[in-house]
C-alpha cells in the first residue's frame, strides 16, 4: 500500500483472506468432500449396502428388463463399477409424453435383481451444491458471493506467494514447540505443499463461475447465438411390436472384445430395439482418452445381435485451443478423469487447502491476541473462528448422524438432514462467540471428534448390513467412507491433544492469563507492517 512491496502484499494477503476466511473454509471443506460425492451418497443410503456386484450382474439386469420393459425401444444399463455397487436401469417406451425427459428408472440389487428403495436424502449432493451455491438464497446471489470470495482467495494466494520472503528455505524448516512460529509453519506448509492445487482449484472454480461474474460475456456477445444442435422431434407413437427374448445375447463375446481392447471393464450398456432382429448393443467403459472436449472423452463400441462389432464412436475432441484449455480446467476442477489414487490425492490436497484456510484465520487471531485482546473486532473474529471452523466439522458429523438416526419414512427427511446441519452449525457459532478461548475450541473439536469416531459404529448398527459384511464383500465405497471418518477423527483428536498440551505448558510456565491492556486501534496508514 504505502510501504515496501512485501508490506503491501502482506496487508493485501491478510485482509483479502481474513474477510473471506470463514466462507472459504466452508467452501473448501464441502468442495473437498465433494470429490467423494458418490461415496457419500452411497453411504447415506444404507438400503443399497446389501447389493454385491458379481459377474452375472448384466444377466440380472437383462432379465429384469425383459420382464418389466419388454416393449421399450431402448434400455440403458449402468453396471456396477468402482464407484457404484448397484445396477441402475432406465428405458424409453414409444409414445411417452415428450415432456418426460427421462423414462422410468430403477435401482436393483446387483446380485439378486431385487429393486432397492433407498431413503430420501440429498447425500453428497448437498455438500456439492453448497460449495458453489450455498443454501437458502437465490442461486445467482450465492454464485456472486462464492465468486467474490474465490477471487479474494486467488488474490490471497498470489499475494501470499509474493510476500513470502524465503519460500524455498521456509519450506524445509519446521519449528515445533514455538507457539506462534508453528502456527505459521502449519499455514505455510499446507499452502506450499499443495500450491499448484490451490492455484488450479481456485482459478478453475472462478472460470466455472465465469458466466455469473461476467454477465457481459454471455451468449450472443461474440457473433450471434450459438448453435445448440437440432432439437429432437416427437417420439414415435406406441406400436405393439412382437418381441422375442428366447436367445441370450452374446454378452460374453462382446464384453471380452471390449475389455481386451481397452483393458477396462464395461460399465455402461445400452440396448437399442431389444428383442427384435435389429437389436444393437453399445458398450462403454472408463476408457477416457481425451479431455479436451470435456465430457464425452470415452470411446464406445456398438455390436449387432450376433455380437459382431459394427461401429465405433470415438472420443470427442475439441479443435479450438482456447476452448480445449477451458475444458481441461473444467475437468480438473471436477476430477472427472480421476481414478481412485488420483481422487485420494486430490482429496488430500483439498484437505491441505482446508487446513491452510483454517490455520490462516487462526493465525490472524494468534498474532493479534496480545495487543487486541478485548477489542470488539478481534473478539468477534476469534469467536467466529471457533464457530465456523470447529462448528462446521461438528455440523458435518451431525449431518451424517442425522442421516442414520432420522426415520427412513419421515416426511421431507432430506430437508431435515440439512436443517440439522445448519442448526448444529448455528449452535456452534453461537457457542463459539460465547466461549472464544481455548476451552471453546477444545469442547467443539472434541464434540466433532466424538461424532466422527463413532460414525463407523453407527454405520454398522443402522445399515441393513454390518461393517463386517462390507469387509467380507470388499465394499470399498462404504469402507473408505468409514476410514475417512476415522482419519478426520484422528486429525480432530490431534488438534485437541495439541491444544490441551499447549494449555498445560502455558500454565506450567506461568504466563499471565489476563488479557493485555487495551490499546488504541492502530491507524491503517501503517497497515502494511501490521499483519
Amino acid at each position: 500500500m504505502t510501504g515496501s512491496l512485501r508490506q503491501s502484499m502482506t496487508w493485501l494477503h491478510t485482509w483479502s483472506s481474513i474477510t473471506a476466511g470463514w466462507i472459504l473454509f466452508a467452501i473448501f471443506l464441502t468442495g473437498t468432500l465433494s470429490f467423494f460425492r458418490n461415496e457419500i451418497s452411497y453411504w447415506m443410503q444404507p438400503e443399497l449396502h446389501q447389493s454385491v456386484p458379481n459377474e452375472q450382474s448384466v444377466i440380472v439386469a437383462y432379465d429384469y428388463l425383459t420382464e418389466h420393459a419388454a416393449q421399450a425401444n431402448e434400455w440403458q444399463i449402468s453396471l456396477p463399477d468402482a464407484r457404484k455397487n448397484t445396477l441402475d436401469l432406465s428405458w424409453t417406451t414409444p409414445g411417452e409424453a415428450r415432456e418426460r425427459r427421462r423414462g422410468p428408472r430403477v435401482q436393483l440389487d446387483a446380485s439378486t435383481g431385487e429393486p432397492l428403495e433407498a431413503r430420501q436424502t440429498e447425500g453428497g449432493n448437498f455438500l456439492y451444491r453448497f460449495h458453489f451455491e450455498l443454501y437458502g438464497m437465490p442461486r445467482e446471489v450465492a454464485r456472486w458471493l462464492v465468486g467474490i470470495v474465490s477471487m479474494m482467495m486467488f488474490v490471497g494466494i498470489i499475494s501470499g506467494v509474493i510476500m513470502h520472503r524465503k519460500i524455498f528455505a521456509d519450506f524445509f524448516m519446521f519449528r515445533p514447540g514455538k507457539k506462534l512460529l508453528s502456527w505459521i509453519d502449519g499455514h505455510a506448509i499446507s499452502a506450499v505443499l499443495a500450491l499448484p492445487f490451490h492455484i488450479m482449484i481456485t482459478f478453475s472454480g472462478l472460470i466455472l463461475l465465469g458466466n455469473t461474474l461476467m454477465p457481459w460475456n454471455g451468449e450472443g456477445h461474440h457473433g450471434g447465438p450459438r448453435d445448440r444442435g437440432a432439437g429432437g422431434g416427437d417420439r414415435p407413437a406406441a406400436v405393439e411390436v412382437a418381441k422375442d427374448f428366447d436367445d441370450n445375447p452374446p454378452f460374453d463375446k462382446m464384453f471380452r472384445h471390449f475389455e481386451q481392447q481397452w483393458q477396462v471393464p464395461v460399465d455402461t450398456l445400452s440396448i437399442s430395439k431389444p428383442g427384435t432382429n435389429k437389436v444393437t448393443y453399445t458398450l462403454g467403459g472408463g476408457n477416457r482418452t481425451e479431455l479436451s472436449a470435456g465430457r464425452g472423452g470415452e470411446t464406445s463400441f456398438t455390436f449387432d445381435g450376433n455380437g459382431e462389432q459394427i461401429s465405433t464412436r470415438p472420443a470427442n475432441s475439441e479443435e479450438n485451443t482456447a476452448q480445449a484449455v477451458y475444458n481441461y480446467f473444467d475437468m480438473l476442477h471436477q476430477a472427472r478423469f480421476a481414478d481412485t489414487p488420483t481422487r485420494w490425492l486430490l482429496f488430500f490436497a483439498g484437505i491441505l487447502g482446508t487446513i491452510m484456510v483454517g490455520t490462516g484465520s487462526v493465525l490472524w487471531a494468534v498474532k493479534r491476541s496480545k495487543q487486541q485482546m478485548g477489542q470488539f473486532g478481534f473478539e468477534l473474529i476469534r469467536g467466529l473462528n471457533v464457530g465456523t471452523i470447529a462448528g462446521l466439522m461438528t455440523a458435518c458429523g451431525s449431518y451424517f448422524w442425522a442421516n442414520r438416526l432420522l426415520s427412513a419414512e419421515l416426511a421431507s427427511r432430506s430437508g431435515w438432514e440439512i436443517n440439522i446441519f445448519f442448526i448444529v452449525w448455528a449452535m456452534g457459532i453461537v457457542g463459539g462467540l460465547i466461549w472464544r478461548d481455548r476451552k471453546g475450541w477444545l469442547v467443539q473439536l472434541s464434540l466433532a471428534g466424538t461424532l466422527f469416531t463413532l460414525l463407523p459404529i453407527l454405520d454398522s448398527i443402522t445399515s441393513s448390513t454390518s461393517v463386517f459384511f462390507a469387509l467380507n464383500n470388499a465394499d470399498w465405497m462404504r469402507l473408505s467412507f468409514d476410514i475417512s471418518c476415522l482419519l478426520i477423527a484422528a486429525v480432530l483428536w490431534l488438534s485437541v491433544y495439541y491444544l490441551a498440551v499447549q494449555k498445560k505448558g502455558r500454565r506450567g510456565r506461568n504466563v499471565p492469563a489476563s488479557p493485555a491492556p487495551k490499546r488504541k486501534v492502530k491507524p491503517l496508514k501503517t497497515a502494511g507492517g501490521e499483519a
Binding site: I162, I207, A527
Partner: protein, 98 residues
C-alpha cells in the same frame, strides 16, 4: 468532518484504494480480455471460454499491481489512466469494425 480531513483519513483512503483496485481492475480486465479475444479473432464459444480464463488472470494481476503501488495518488492515477487507454482503444476498434 470537513472534506479535507475526510480525504486524508486512513480508513477512507483504504476504502477508496480498494474500490479503485476492484472496480477499476474489473473494468480494465474486462476491456483487456475483450480486446485480446478480438485481436486473436476468436468468436462465439471459444471467445467466451478464452475471456473467462484471461479475465481472472488479468484481474488478479491488476489488483496486486494496484496495491503494490507505493502511493494512493499514484495508484488512482495509474488505474484511471490504464482504463482510459484500454477503453479508448476498444471503442476505436469497435468503431472501425462497425
Amino acid at each position: 468532518m470537513t472534506i479535507l480531513t475526510l480525504s486524508t483519513h486512513p480508513k477512507f483512503l483504504v476504502t477508496l484504494r480498494t474500490l479503485c483496485a476492484v472496480v477499476g481492475g474489473y473494468a480494465a480486465s474486462a476491456c483487456l480480455s475483450l480486446l485480446l479475444a478480438q485481436w486473436l479473432g476468436l468468436t462465439e464459444r471459444p471467445a467466451e471460454a478464452f475471456i473467462k480464463m484471461v479475465f481472472f488472470v488479468v484481474f488478479c494481476t491488476l489488483i496486486i499491481w494496484s496495491f503494490a503501488i507505493n502511493s494512493h495518488r499514484k495508484a488512482f492515477i495509474h488505474m484511471a489512466g490504464l482504463n482510459a487507454v484500454v477503453w479508448a482503444v476498444y471503442l476505436a476498434t469497435q468503431g472501425v469494425s462497425a
